[in-house]
Amino acid sequence: MAGGPAIGGGGKRGSAAQTVGVLNLLTDLAFNLLIFFVVCASTEPEKGRPQDVPNVNEKKTEESKVQPVKLRVSRTDVFLKGETEENLPIEGLAARLRELLAEKTNPRERIVMVQTDGDTTYSQWIKVAEKIEEAGGVMTMLKVTEKVVTLRKSGGE
């Protein structure tokens, strides 16, 4: 940081020193402005979407009279789970969900359970979450049953 010489004196020497001092101060000012704009640019607020993910017990919802809408999201497709799986195009998903949720006035009943395949991408999941929100549903994640695999040594226990 250039502090610059003390401003004072007179004559030719004094005036030269004064010019150098002013130039130093201007350089400082320019440098500070540069830093200020760099900081401003790096603190640009991020954009995104908040999401409320309620913890829903599948057993409890099965016991209740109103059946929640269940979706299975694969890497490329979305399926409506029922007795048979219905393939829903992502473009028409919001409209179909709106139909299914039309009679459900209670927010607790407007739950859409989403089950994913292991390889479903985050990008695909976000698209589905967006459509559910658009249709006025509340997205929750369906717990996939975990399989326990026990490995045994050949000829061992």
């Binding site: 940081m1 200020f36 985050y122």
Partner: protein, 133 residues
Amino acid sequence: MRFKWKKLEVAPPYVSMADIAFNLVLFFVILARTQDDSHLKWEPAKSAATRQIENASMSITVDVDGKTYLNGQQVGIIELPEGIASQLAAKGETKGKVLLKIHKETQALTFEPIIKAVSKAGCEVVHVLEEQQ
């Protein structure tokens, strides 16, 4: 013999002092920001419905290699609930907002347990996304 003291004409460097003060302000502004995770490589998923995010308590990032970071520090998914709880305790909060910076190609096997851990900790999930034009 009497000496004649020369009076120095030195003015306090007010401009330089203002510069220092300004730099200090900038320094504390940068310091006050949430922990820096700008070194992590990830691409956000696109969404049409995005809004501006206010300051969050912490951030969880999943990079292009599928590694998980809590406030820029690499953690395992199993360690996440404990990590979130300790971060909240350090800030004296019971609930908070967690930014999820998940790479768009991350698979459900990785991101679902993260979302579950955050919601189980009682925090609000905020997905950081790119606005679709």
